[in-house]
Amino acid sequence: LGTSTPSFGYTNEYKIYSSVTGKEITTLSDTGEKTKTSVYMNGSVIAEMGFDPGVYHTVQFKHTDPVSGVEAETNVSGTGSNSEGNRTFEAFGAEIPSYSEASAEVPSYQHGGSVLNPEHGCEVNGGPVRCDRLGIWLSGLGIPVVGGVIIQETTISKANYLKLNNEDELANIFANRGGIFEKHGNEMWFVMSYSEEAGISAVELGSRAKGTDKSQASRLLTKAQTSISQDCINALKKLGVWDRVQNLLKTEKLYDVDTIQNEPASHYFANLAAKGLDVGTYFDSLHRDAYTVRGKGNKTGIYYRSSNVNLPSEPDLRLHETTHLAYPTVLPAGQTTYLDEILAKALNLEQQAGLFGRNKESWSDAVSRYFNNKCDPREEQGGWQRAIIDAGGVK
């Protein structure tokens, strides 16, 4: 957190107080030279004599409104002694600049902030907040912040490949080792080893933001939470559902099966689940990470097990499922619609062929592949192909 805070230099000074009034009379520098002397009347400073060693001495008269706290300064000739002429303070002591610009220089921590640019200028829900405070706040929400940047946890996948030259090699290695295969263009590869490691990516917090602007920090926070790629935004706009998806991301119902697993499945899935099943058993029978249900007596929403996948922090999977809630807008009456199929067709997603042209991926696989690759247009027709073969995939 500290690295986002400007560094300051400190200089010692010495103050001489009146033994009668207790007020500060004279300030000395760290070398013992006089730098300022104050003149009091009725307990208030009415004039200050400044000493700039070796250059000149100045006298400034101070006029303070005891009610509003507005200060004005004049020099010995009676004119304003600085460019502003007076200083106004808001309720918490921060100085309000007298000019009407929407932004101001970054103020010093030592002298309080400007309401137009409080400290670094971060905001939360429109309210000014110091960026280091925002960092602490984000950390409290479980979002790591280091050095002024939001740290996103992510997963880095690593794989070692063996290229396969023909179907015999595939059959041989499949029979002896099994595992995961990938098809890249016309080439076939066997995944020798596969590992996932925790990694991080960073989103920089705004170091400055205009006081009248929308919250840059909030935007970045939203970006960190959703990580919706521009390709996905473009695709959903073309589909005509981007506005709906944005609203759904705020309002959709996420059901954690871990918390409702013992309840009757019919309460949530109407006639989709066999009678007598509980939610946990039905959900587990699907062998899926997430399950989206809409309409006809079902409790519309996205179902997942938090013990298996943390859906709120899985932006690709969540966007995939949320889009199912948005498209199509009207479900055909009296039947069950497979949302993956109709979405894949609308997004121009071909079902990629499996290895050696055997099998095709399901519509659901095609949509997952598309969203998992951030809606990369190359995941539409042609381009990168990927097929994962399970035990029933090659015979």
């Binding site: 109407a270 007596g297 609308a346 399901s362 027709q381």
Partner: protein
């Protein structure tokens, strides 16, 4: 006299302009009615409060023998003219009887699994999807039921 002649010429000019503009408006007619068999089995508007947010979703059952790019063009141009509003229109064309919803009054349901299993039932029939987004109109279809290739045809505006 000259004034009357001028007014007459002006009226004729304006009438011609108005007539030519009216001709540019696409309207369905007997001439645009597709010469093959099809059934509109769903024609529903979303219930958004604002008209500009509404979608129209249609499902059409098309005679399998009539499935061709040329006939799909005729069908979609005709339906787009017949239903100019709202600006978002989707028409799904099915050629397999068991994929057509029955005429129930009951609402339908929708499910999506993150990894829907492979099924042979997903192949072996023709389908098409027309999408209108404002001035842009395209349709997708599978020319060959034996592979998964999807063809996209732009009818108006920009492809998407």
């Amino acid at each position: 006299m000259m004034d009357k002649v001028f007014a007459l010429v002006l009226m004729m000019t304006l009438s011609c302009v108005a007539f030519s503009q009216a001709r540019r408006v696409r309207e369905p007619s007997c001439e645009t009615e597709p010469p093959f068999h099809y059934l509109i089995v769903q024609n529903a508007l979303s219930d958004d409060k604002r008209m500009s947010d509404r979608h129209r979703e249609m499902i059409v059952f098309l005679d399998e023998t009539a499935f061709s790019e040329e006939n799909l063009r005729l069908l979609f141009v005709h339906l787009a003219m017949k239903y100019p509003f709202p600006k978002i229109l989707d028409v799904t064309v099915e050629t397999k009887w068991n994929r057509i919803p029955n005429p129930y009054a009951c609402p339908g349901s929708g499910v999506a699994e993150s990894e829907q299993p492979y099924s042979d039932d997903q192949f072996g029939y023709h389908w098409s999807l027309f999408m209108r987004r404002g001035k842009d109109e395209i349709f997708r279809y599978n020319p060959d039921v034996n592979n998964g290739h999807i063809e996209t045809v732009t009818l108006a505006g920009k492809p998407f």
